[in-house]
């Protein structure tokens, strides 16, 4: 299929227009940035050679790009005199890295070195340089075509095979097995087939949530209006009548795939935003002389951190939980955990005792087979008006304690991960006086600060800082920002901090 065709004047200034115009075409074909740069360089070198050496100059230089048989074929042609030394130059070509390339013939050397397949056909009417670039197989969308007529199948393969990986079946039942196993990107099916007909096939796919949303097109010679109506009631994406042209089929498939991709991206984004919103932590209000400050350092993918708090007349309890992993799966599990934790903490008696909260959580996780596939850590703390703080941990990073006169140090507490034990975890009792503080956090910060243990990273960052308040967290955020500068794409996990000051 032709993707690009332009003509250029034989002037060096035109190489820039060529670069600008062809880059988006190559990007559309899932080539890597480096590979696109290489191919553009090859075209510029070939173009420049013609402009510099052809005598007389051609009247124009044409560049075209087409896909065929899983390859991207790029042709640069001109109507000037042919270059007869191409094959001789290929034989003498130096490989990349040979520094003598810098002294002579670098343009041709680059053309040979940067292409996997290049040929040159000089002729009296038009010379053509053809670069054949294999398209990445894994990037090609897969289409399942089903038709009991072998001619119909061959036509679909011929029409779509240069752009998509087409898997053909002449029996509906065999196609159904393949679709259930492989989940292709799109299905094209005939209706009137022995064995399993197209309507039955579609009905079967529609009833299975795993296959119901795979774009589906009927391509059929059936002209019965009732069957058309029946097909339209099966949530299909299009209905095409045979015979059809290549252009019409390609346009329909392209449009359907693009629309499907857009809908999926949009639904995913909306779902992610909704789950993220539901996990957004509310900072606890004040309790007596306790003040609470929270901060989230969010990564692009986001993680499964969340914080739940409940308060009674003379206490406030907090659970900070971190589901390992990132992106939507972590958030979905965090959402489920959030429900469990809120339910556990709805009873005052339990909420007052952080060890019991974590014990209950562990029992829930052990019983729920869906949750046992996740790894989660949690820390629970209960604050009393008197300044007493009870802390329990389930495999969570140790909190940091700030005491007037001694500065920051970790609270020596540990506990097994939720789901692994139904025993009551240990409880640490801390008495916070005026000017003392506590910092609870999830371990995304260790990734940001490139330190193995978040505790080490934070102790180092907090050294010399006063007791926790909003300013401390702003400082932590600033440190994380600097450490993560330029590495945003590597940072997958989210960090949540809760600082408590008295």
């Amino acid at each position: 299929m032709l993707k690009f065709a332009k003509t250029y004047s034989p002037e060096l200034v035109e190489t820039r227009r060529l670069r600008e115009e062809i880059a988006p075409v190559l990007e559309d074909n899932s080539l890597s940035e480096n590979r696109i740069n290489d191919l553009i360089l090859v075209l510029v070198e070939a173009f420049t050679n013609i402009v510099r050496h052809a005598k007389p100059l051609p009247s124009e230089i044409a560049v075209s790009v087409e896909t065929a048989d899983g390859n991207l074929n790029i042709t640069l042609s001109d109507d000037g005199p042919g270059f007869t030394g191409f094959e001789a130059a290929r034989e003498k070509a130096l490989s990349l890295g040979d520094l003598s390339m810098m002294e002579h013939g670098m343009g041709l050397n680059l053309i040979f070195s940067l292409t996997s397949s290049v040929s040159y056909l000089p002729s009296e009417s038009r010379n053509a340089l053809l670069v054949r670039e294999p398209l990445p197989a894994s990037e090609r969308k897969t289409i399942v075509a089903i038709d009991d007529d072998p001619v119909g199948l061959k036509l679909i393969e011929a029409f779509l095979g240069d752009r998509y990986a087409v898997h053909s079946f002449n029996k509906g039942s065999e196609a159904l097995d393949h679709i259930n196993r492989e989940h292709p990107d799109l299905i094209i099916s005939d209706i009137d087939m022995p064995d399993l007909n197209g309507l039955e096939l579609r009905e079967s796919l529609r009833c299975d949530p795993a296959t119901a949303l795979i774009p589906f097109i009927f391509l059929t010679g059936v002209v019965d209006e009732d069957i058309h109506d029946e097909a339209n009631d099966l949530d299909i994406d299009d209905f095409m009548e045979k015979p059809t042209s290549k252009g019409k089929l390609v346009r329909t498939v392209d449009r359907t795939l693009k629309r499907s991709t857009r809908i999926r991206q949009s639904a995913t984004a909306a779902f992610e935003a909704s789950v993220t919103n539901s996990l957004r932590s509310n900072t606890p209000a004040e309790l007596g002389r306790f003040r609470f400050f929270s901060e989230e350092i969010a990564a692009s993918a986001g993680g499964g951190d969340f914080m739940v708090h409940v308060s009674g007349e003379d206490f406030l309890s907090v659970v900070l939980l971190d589901v390992m992993g990132h992106g939507i799966p972590a958030k979905v599990f965090a959402h489920a955990y959030s429900g469990y934790v809120q339910s556990i903490m709805s009873l005052d008696e339990t909420a007052r005792d952080p060890a019991r909260v974590l014990q209950e959580l562990s029992s829930h996780v052990a019983r729920d087979t869906r949750l046992t596939s996740t790894i989660v850590t949690a820390i629970a703390a209960t604050f009393s008006d008197s300044g007493k703080v009870l802390v329990a941990s389930a495999g969570h990073p140790r909190p940091l304690l700030y005491m007037q006169g001694t500065g920051w140090r970790p609270v020596p507490i540990s506990g097994v991960l939720p789901g692994l034990s139904d025993e009551l975890p240990e409880t640490k009792t801390i008495q916070l006086g005026s000017g003392d503080g506590l910092l609870l956090f999830t371990d995304g910060i260790s990734e940001v600060l490139c330190r193995e243990r978040p505790e080490d990273a934070l102790l180092s960052a907090l050294e010399g800082l006063p007791p926790p308040d909003g300013g401390t967290l702003a400082k932590l955020n600033e440190i994380a920002d600097k450490a993560g500068h330029g590495r945003e794409q590597d940072q997958d996990d989210r960090s949540t901090f809760l600082a408590i000051a008295r």
Binding site: V13, R16, V44, V51, R52, G107
Partner: protein, 112 residues
Amino acid sequence: MTGHMLNIEIVDGILRIEVAGSLDAETAFHLDQQINARYPDATEGIVLNLNHTEFMDSAGVGFVVRLRERAKRASNSFEIIRVGGQPRRLLEQIGGISILELKGNEGDIANA
């Protein structure tokens, strides 16, 4: 001529050249001319800043090699700084990294 911008100055005896845009067959020849016209005499060294050079082809490499030879003839230093993206990849591919004094990496460019 379009497609590039050139900034040339002498700082502390060092000829500092900054090329923005393309360093290719269209621009390299003109760059040579401008540099030779404005600073025909030897300087204490040459620093080529490619921070804003987006594209380089074999003619661009030729320009770099000529600058290096100019410095070498005068027994002076030659450095390329802040080269990234496609130009860096090209210089790496042809093995130029080992003989051209490249200072600064992708990180330096990001922080520039």
